[in-house]
Amino acid sequence: MARYGMALDYKNCINCKACEVACKEENGVLLGADKHRIWVGVNEIEGVWPNLSITSSSFLPSQCQQCDNAPCEEVCPTHATYYDENGVVRVDSDKCILCSYCMNACPYDARYVDDRTVTVDKCTFCSDTRLARGLTTTACQNTCPTKVRTFGDLDDPESEISILLKTRDHFSLKANLGTEPKLFYLT
């Protein structure tokens, strides 16, 4: 039993997409532009050449925010979306009926249709792959060249993530919605 979360030192991100590839290879995610559990948000730069605003060009690595109060779980009519024992928002393929309510409810656009398992799938924090094998890092964290992510147990006060969140300023995405994300962006 743990309460898993992730801190993202997002200023390190160089938009190389190693995380995206590692995630797809680890979790058997299908190829195709609309099939991804993880992505990097990019703002098109502001200004007119050569006066461009460097600060307007940011890379924001993102994925399922693993909400403690997940809208996708709330709207699921078949209870296919559920919280597992570690607080990770998961999907039961057998119960999913592809109604796509969860896709509409998610404010982070983190759900997608996996054509192979016929499920509206999502990031699992590698629960059924790496964590199931006893590893303590997700594929995206482990491979990152600039080490953007730190994954860990929010309930363990000694964990690296707990220490980071105590010692660094951070924010959550769309915190005003009350979704209580377990992804934290370090500033």
Partner: protein
């Protein structure tokens, strides 16, 4: 419920297909559909990606082969299938990371378009018509030819054993030396060309000539960075990329990015200054002027280590290389040049990033010299936070018993070059002299491996003519590249995940040796390169010895004196004797001899070894490891041996400026209505070798033409419009990407796209090939290719 999604079905739905239209659908593949289907093997996964399991698995240490950089990883193998590549936490160079290309390596190994068995050409050259043959038949075709082409035996007989009639080329990699041993030392060809003369030759050369090293950088302790031309966020190099961007953006390293276009590196900088292409030298000279004029330099350091230092000072000041002089040349404001020069010299640990990129302008050698001297003026060399010489681990040299060919002529590719490199030559000069009939003897054979000059050497039309001119072309590779399509015999190699490679040493500051181990056995009928070298050597040795016996007087004499058998074995004519032991066994022997059996045990298990590794290596937190404790790292190793060669008189003996000097012929200008085309890399692509990788193609469907937004608007060009790009040497078609990230008189395109090989289902006909458009200009020092000197016309089609 599980539904199998085949690669083909993925393709049908992919963005890539819809954007390039009919080109891919019309592909007539190198192999028939039937042959593709029959090559389905239980050793190849059924789907593109495979979810990793929780059961039994092997973890095999490998060294990545997706680019030249060499990062370490572990391959997870489940039931004989590689399901995942993970970073290796033991290698100080790659610091527990794999980039997107590294992660996508599985797709290269399992690429359905792989060369699966030996092929012999049965149609016209370039037609892609080949016949599947056995290895023995393929080797025999190289030796004896077929009715369509001549073999080595006949050619060497006709050339009276002049081994220089064989040319050869090879791309970067761990088995490169073996191929050089085979064709260079054992077969006796001096005519070797490789990636060096189309890559960073002047960067290495300029830094070596000035500081005696092409240094590493200690980014952990540096606090100011000028990065010009290099694009470390997209052309990933370890450990630089990882170390650099953890500390940019107000977190330790103030970063100034000098680049004509706004790259991802610029996005991470504090300041981005768009420089006119090819004029960085004026920028550096002007900064140097500011330093001397305001006496900001570390005078004691330069007095001690500088050679020709006073003359250089006089040279810079008397030429009046002021920021005001530089501004109209390089396009960077004088006040910015003053500020950066002052900030650099006032910083605690400033770094002018040495580079690592292809050569963009003919003054690149002088640019590198000027950069190295500018760095030295800060005194931040051979110390923490600066340029590092370090203490690389030296592996024992290997001895090759090479025969001496009396009839072999020397190489000739020296026209227009001040300092021709005997080893790797100049691709462009070698090719062009042959095309222009300036070769003193016929070059009739190209032995090629893992190299794609059709897409990497500027002016593809000339490369095509060059390859067509040969009597015999042989290619060893993993994919049917554009160049492979000109081969008469194709030998399929095992990919980097299917082979154990010779041990290598990497790193200056935190050195280590590494071994790549085969994660799986070679797929299909492919073989490891060293096995191919050995078998080919065995096949060629006796028959070619007979040719030498016929023409080589020295050999005839030796045989008379000592007997044929003795001479054959003792003097290296037994070509296969360089590969007596398999690679893994040889690695063991080398490492045990140099570092002891325990070292081998560690290396073989973990893929990495360095002295005291067990004691030094530890995990610091979930993301970071200690490789060497700080007090054991090799920050300062040169002592008083350091030299800063400001004036290099030897250069003047061949007409090269002994001190970096600006010449106005290097000024940047583009005729009205034209654009200067610049090229570069992307984090999700290396070169033409990765364009057929399904995973990477999913991330970047094609190469776009970056064109200034305002200009595009005037020309009526919108995002996704197909445009033609045309230079005096060639043309291509690709889609437009109007953006503010590039100047109005420049366009940019990614390197590596626009393949014409129908054997590459994803790469064929996708985007444009920059090599077909770039002029074949060379720089004067080594004759290396200059990439950014071509003007083009753009037209919506």
């Amino acid at each position: 419920m599980e539904v199998e999604i085949s690669r083909r079905r993925f393709l049908q739905g992919s963005v890539a297909l819809t954007v390039v239209g009919g080109t891919m659908a019309g592909t007539t593949a190198l192999f028939s559909e039937e042959e593709k289907a029959s090559s389905a093997s239980p050793r190849v996964p059924k789907t593109v990606t495979t979810k990793t399991g929780t059961g039994k698995a092997e973890e095999i240490p490998f060294l990545c082969g997706m680019c030249v950089n060499k990062c370490a990883g572990f391959a997870r193998v489940e039931g004989g299938i590689i399901t995942k590549l993970d970073p290796n936490p033991y290698f100080p160079k790659s610091r527990n990371m794999l980039c997107p290309r590294g992660n996508a390596g599985i797709q290269t190994a399992y690429d359905p378009d792989r060369l699966k068995y030996p092929l012999v050409r049965i149609g016209k050259r370039g037609s892609g018509k080949y016949k599947r043959v056995s290895w023995e038949e393929a080797y025999d075709a190289i030796l004896n030819g077929t009715k369509l082409f001549k073999g080595l035996k006949q050619i060497l007989d006709e050339e009276k054993d002049n081994r220089a009639t064989i040319g050869y080329c090879n791309g970067e990699g761990l088995s490169k030396e073996g191929f050089e041993t085979l064709v260079g030392q054992k077969l006796g060809s001096p005519n070797y060309v490789d990636e060096v003369s189309i890559c960073l030759e002047t960067a290495g050369g300029g830094f070596f000539a000035t500081l005696g090293v092409y240094p590493e950088i200690d980014f952990e302790h540096s606090d100011y960075l000028i990065i010009s031309g290099a694009n470390r966020a997209e052309a990933i190099i370890t450990p630089d990329t990882m170390d650099m961007f953890k500390r940019t953006k107000g977190r330790g390293i103030k970063t100034v990015c000098i680049d004509p276009r706004f790259t991802n590196t610029a996005a991470k900088a504090d300041k981005w200054l768009p420089v006119n292409p090819g004029t960085d030298l004026a920028f550096v000279l002007a900064m140097t002027w500011v330093v001397f004029n305001e006496k900001l330099q570390n005078e004691a350091f330069m007095k001690k280590y500088g050679v020709g230092y006073e003359e250089y000072k006089k040279h810079i000041l008397s030429h009046k290389y002021t920021p005001e002089w530089a501004e109209p040349i390089c396009g960077i404001k004088a006040k910015d040049i003053y500020t950066i020069a002052r900030e650099f010299m006032n910083a605690e640990a400033p770094v002018y990033y040495p580079g690592r990129r292809s050569i963009f302008s003919p003054n690149d050698y002088q640019l590198r010299r000027a950069m190295a001297i500018f760095q030295a003026l800060s005194g931040n060399i051979d110390k923490k936070g600066g340029y590092i010489y370090g203490n690389p681990i030296i592996l024992p040299p290997e001895y090759v018993n090479a025969p001496i060919y009396a009839q072999a002529k020397p190489r000739f590719d020296t026209e227009g070059i001040a300092f021709p490199t005997l080893k790797s030559g100049s691709w462009i000069v070698f090719r062009n002299m042959i095309l222009e009939g300036k070769n003193p003897y016929p070059v009739r054979v190209m032995m090629m491996r893992k190299h794609n000059p059709m897409m990497s050497v500027p002016n593809t039309a000339k490369t095509r003519k060059f390859l067509e001119k040969m009597d015999l072309n042989v290619m060893i590779d993993i994919l049917p590249s554009d160049t492979a399509m000109f081969a008469d015999v194709i030998l399929p190699e095992a990919s980097y995940l299917e082979r154990t490679s010779p041990v290598k040493s990497y790193g200056f500051l935190e050195p280590a040796i590494v071994q790549r181990k085969a994660a799986i056995k070679p797929l299909y009928e492919t073989k490891e390169p060293e096995v191919i070298f050995k078998e080919l050597a065995e096949k060629l040795a006796k028959p070619l010895f007979e040719i030498s016996k016929k023409y080589d007087k020295d050999l005839q004499e030796q045989i008379k004196l000592r007997g044929e058998e003795k001479v054959f074995e003792e003097d290296g004519w037994n070509l296969a004797d360089a590969w007596e032991k398999p690679v893994h066994e040889k690695n063991k022997e080398i490492v045990e001899k140099a570092f002891g059996p325990k070292a081998w045990e560690i290396l073989d298990e973990k893929g990495v070894y360095y002295p005291h590794m067990e004691e030094y290596h530890k995990q610091l937190n979930p993301n970071e490891f200690q490789y060497y404790p700080k007090n054991r790292r090799f920050y300062s190793t040169m002592g008083d041996k350091k030299r800063v060669i400001c004036k290099y008189d030897h250069l003047a003996t061949r007409g090269i400026d002994p001190m970096p000097t600006w010449h106005d012929e290097w000024k940047f200008s583009v005729p009205e209505g034209k654009f200067r085309v610049i090229t570069g890399r992307h984090a999700q692509f290396t070169q033409s070798g990765t364009t057929n990788n399904a995973m990477l193609r999913d991330l970047i469907p094609t190469n776009y033409l970056w064109i200034n937004k305002g200009v595009a608007k005037k020309m009526g060009i919108e995002f996704g419009d197909m445009v033609e790009i045309k230079s005096e040497v060639g043309q291509g078609k690709l889609m437009a990407y109007p953006t503010e990230k590039i100047a109005p008189n420049q366009v940019f395109m990614l390197h590596g796209f626009g393949s014409e090989s129908r054997g590459l289902e994803l790469a064929y006909g996708n985007g444009a090939n920059d090599a077909a458009i770039l002029k074949d200009d060379i720089e004067p020092v080594f004759g290396a290719a200059v990439m950014h000197s071509t003007n083009v016309e753009i037209r919506k089609v």
